[in-house]
Structures are given as structure tokens and as C-alpha cells.
Amino acid sequence: MGEWIEACGSDDVEEEDVIRFDHAGRVFAIYRSPDDEYFATDGLCTHEHVSLADGLVMDEIIECPKHNGRFNYKTGEAKGAPVCVNLRTYRVKVEGGAVFVEV
């Protein structure tokens, strides 16, 4: 069991968008899907460690801003070149208007 950490307010992320969350020297990406669910993954692309929070969320895909590599942010699955290594995902819960990530 990991530790639940408060990452941001639930309104800090727009629908179908992503923000960056830094904690204990690690970078996370917090997503809000078009159907208003929250998800979290490692915040740096597995290709060249670029921050995914500058990328584009489309449905359940996050596209990396550097070389347009795509991941499914719900499962972490890398969807093809130039990303070949999956993203790590984290459990998320929303309580009292805040988004918590289990790290």
C-alpha cells in the first residue's frame, strides 16, 4: 500500500486536460478525462523524459509534446513509435474537492 498524497484541487485540471505535479523529487501527471474522471501517471515521457503536462489530452490519450508519442493515460499503454515503454499509472481518489494520488 502506498501513501496517499494530495496532488491538486479537482478544479485545477480542466476537463480533457492534464497538469504536472511534483512530489519528493518525482514528477507525476494528473489527468481529468472528458467524462470527468481523474487519473495519474508518471509525469515524464518514457521516450526522452519530457513533461507530459505540456502535451495534449484527446479522449483517453495523452500525446507527448516533443515527438507526439501517445499513451493511454488510463492504462499507461504506449501506443507506438516513438514511445515503446509503457507509463506507470497510479491510483487516484477525489475527496473534499482535492485529488489524491497513491504514490
Binding site: 526522452e48 523524459h49 484527446m58 509534446p65 516513438p82
Partner: protein
């Protein structure tokens, strides 16, 4: 004071490759103009409409021009039709390869993939190899020893530049790479940017293409006519000139080994026909800074960030007037480059990162 010219080693496995890594130029942090997230998100939005329209015009025009060329085959009247067909194939294919490789042309993924495969075939660029080489071009733009897509190296090989207008060397390399890959050989340089798990795909595509070209040649021999090769493969030679004309301007004569696209890339205002063929890649600084922005939104991005960029050249003619003399000066001193002047509204170049380039006169 005389400046001793340095000799650059462009090999991806050579001295300058190791130097770039040691100097922190490989996979470095690049300068970006500040753009509010909301505005950037709007610019990055994908849509199918513009690319479906442009692809229908592109393919439709190729079918019409090739059809008229075939109809008038044997007469001089066929020549202009094939010239038009050739440009759409051998130059329009370059920009479609590029934009669909980024996955930004269409919103729908399979549409990007289909046009990407077709354009790769037209341009004789292995879709796997070139996807990876282009990713490296974006990571390490014009970093000597790291960027596999530096079209004019220093000192410039002007014969090579001239030959590129008729695609001779590109076709030679495209075909020899295809035959080598089809024989199952992935080179040491290719292995520096193509991960192992992707290398089998390189070979598979090369074999399919080799079969298509073999069939085209057999048909040409059977018909006793050049026509099949004028339609398939040939336009990569006689239609390449426009993509070279526009492509040389992307980085030609500008700085190398810097981490600010304002120093090593050039935006040029162009006529609408060239912009259609080139799919707006004339906004090249903008594209490199924000590769997530689709081609059809680049004019808007240009308006949004031009206060922070060197002024775009006013025309291709204007850009060539500065680039050609720079090439000629680089023949005598390969360290010479054009420094792009920033407007007063721009954030200055970071001298601490690339002092020589930022301070050069």
C-alpha cells in the same frame, strides 16, 4: 584576426557525436516562447477537415495530371502535366510524410497512418527509419554528430545541393538503403536511433517496396516504355525540386550546436501554392518550438509568438538572398553563420548556453 575553421564530424557514431553528449547538447532543454496553456491547447487541437480537403485535392490533382500525361504520352503536351504531377508526388509527398509522421495532420489516427505510408513510399523513405530519424532531428536539431537530417553540412557541398534539386543522391540513397534493408541489414548508424524492437519492421517494409519497384520495372520492360517509371518512382527525381527549394531554407546558413530554434531555424512567408505543397512548413521556427501544433494552425501560432522570434523572411527570394552568400562564406570559413536578429519585444538568446552563436556578429 583569423578564425581557424574547425572541421565538423557529422557521423552519428563519430567524434562530434561523443562531444555533443559530453557538452550537454544531446537531448538538451530547448528554449520555448511562453504561451498560455489555454491558447496552446486551442492551437494543438486536431481536426480531420483541413487534411481531408487538402488530401482530396492533392490526390485528385495527381490523378488528373497523371491521366492527362498518359493520354498525351508520346507528345510534348504530356510534359507540363507530368511536371505538375511530379511536384505533387516528389515534393508534396515530402510534406505529407513529415506532417503525418508527427501524427498531426488528421485527428483520426488511421488517416495519418495511411497517408504517411503512401508518402514514405513516394519519397523513398523507410517509414520506420525516418520516423525515428525525424524524432532525433527534433531532439537534437542541427547538433553536429546527433542530427541525422542535416541537409547542408559545413563546409557546404554545393554540388550536392544542386544535385538534390533533381533528387539524384536522395534516390540513390533511398534505393540502396532499401536494397540493403531488404537484404536484412540495418546499419550501425541506423541502430543509433532505431530501437531494436523496431528494426524488423524496417526490413519488412523494404522488402514490400523492393517488390513494388521490381514489378514496375518488369511492366516497363514488358511494355517497352518508360511510362510506368515516369508514374512510379520517377517523380522522386523530376518532381523533387520544390521540396528542396523550400526545405533548404529551414536551417540553411544558420547556427549549429545551439539549443534555441530561433538561432538555427528560419520562417519564410510564401505564396499559397508553395504553402499548399509544403503544408505550411515555411513556419519552421514555430513548428520546431511546438511540434504538436498541426500544419493548418501554424499561421495562427506565428501571429501569437512572432514578437519573440526573428522576423520571418518576406519571401523565398529574400531568404535565398541571405542564405546563398552565407553558404559561399562557409566555403572559406565553416564557422560562419547568419545570426538571426531578435525584435526588441523578444527574450534575448541565452548567452550562457550558446555564447558564441548568441554573441556572433
Amino acid at each position: 584576426m583569423t578564425i581557424a575553421a574547425t572541421s565538423r564530424d557529422y557521423s552519428l557514431i563519430g567524434r562530434d557525436s561523443a562531444l555533443a553528449v559530453a557538452n550537454g547538447l544531446a537531448a538538451a532543454e530547448w528554449y520555448h516562447t511562453d504561451v498560455e496553456r489555454k491558447a496552446m491547447k486551442a492551437l494543438m487541437q486536431r481536426s480531420d477537415g483541413p487534411a481531408i480537403r487538402d488530401t482530396a485535392i492533392w490526390i485528385g490533382a495527381m490523378v488528373v495530371f497523371a491521366g492527362l500525361g498518359i493520354w498525351f504520352w508520346g507528345s510534348w503536351i504530356a510534359v507540363p502535366f507530368f511536371l505538375a504531377y511530379g511536384v505533387l508526388y516528389g515534393s508534396g509527398g515530402d510534406s505529407r510524410w513529415h506532417e503525418c509522421g508527427h501524427g498531426t495532420a488528421f485527428k483520426t489516427r488511421w488517416m495519418n497512418d495511411v497517408v504517411y505510408q503512401i508518402a514514405c513510399f513516394m519519397m523513398m523513405r523507410n517509414p520506420v527509419t525516418w520516423r525515428w530519424s525525424h524524432a532525433r532531428h527534433h531532439t537534437d536539431t542541427i547538433i553536429v554528430g546527433r542530427d541525422p537530417e542535416i541537409s547542408v553540412m559545413r563546409p557546404p557541398d554545393l554540388l550536392r545541393v544542386v544535385l538534390s534539386f533533381v533528387g539524384v543522391l536522395d534516390v540513390w540513397h533511398g534505393l540502396t538503403d532499401m536494397v540493403r534493408n531488404a537484404a536484412g541489414v540495418v546499419s550501425a548508424e541506423e541502430k543509433t536511433f532505431i530501437p531494436e524492437m523496431e528494426q524488423a519492421k524496417v526490413v519488412r517494409v523494404a522488402r514490400i517496396w523492393a517488390a513494388i519497384y521490381a514489378v514496375t520495372i518488369v511492366v516497363a520492360i514488358a511494355m517497352g516504355s518508360w511510362l510506368p517509371l515516369v508514374i512510379v518512382g520517377g517523380p522522386r527525381l523530376y518532381g523533387a525540386w520544390h521540396h528542396v527549394l523550400t526545405g533548404l531554407l529551414q536551417h540553411g546558413g544558420l547556427a549549429d550546436n545551439v539549443t534555441d530554434h530561433r538561432l538555427n531555424s528560419r520562417s519564410v512567408l510564401m505564396n499559397p501554392v508553395s504553402r499548399f505543397i509544403y503544408w505550411n512548413m515555411n513556419y519552421h521556427v514555430e513548428h520546431h518550438m511546438f511540434p504538436m501544433v498541426p500544419y493548418h494552425a501554424l499561421p495562427k501560432l506565428h501571429e501569437l509568438i512572432k514578437h519573440d522570434l526573428p522576423a520571418a523572411n518576406s519571401s523565398m527570394w529574400d531568404a535565398y538572398r541571405e542564405m546563398v552568400p552565407a553558404f559561399l562564406r562557409q566555403l572559406r570559413n565553416e564557422d560562419y553563420f547568419l545570426k538571426r536578429e531578435l525584435p526588441a519585444t523578444a527574450k534575448p538568446y541565452r548567452e550562457e548556453l550558446h555564447g558564441d552563436a548568441a554573441a556572433a556578429e
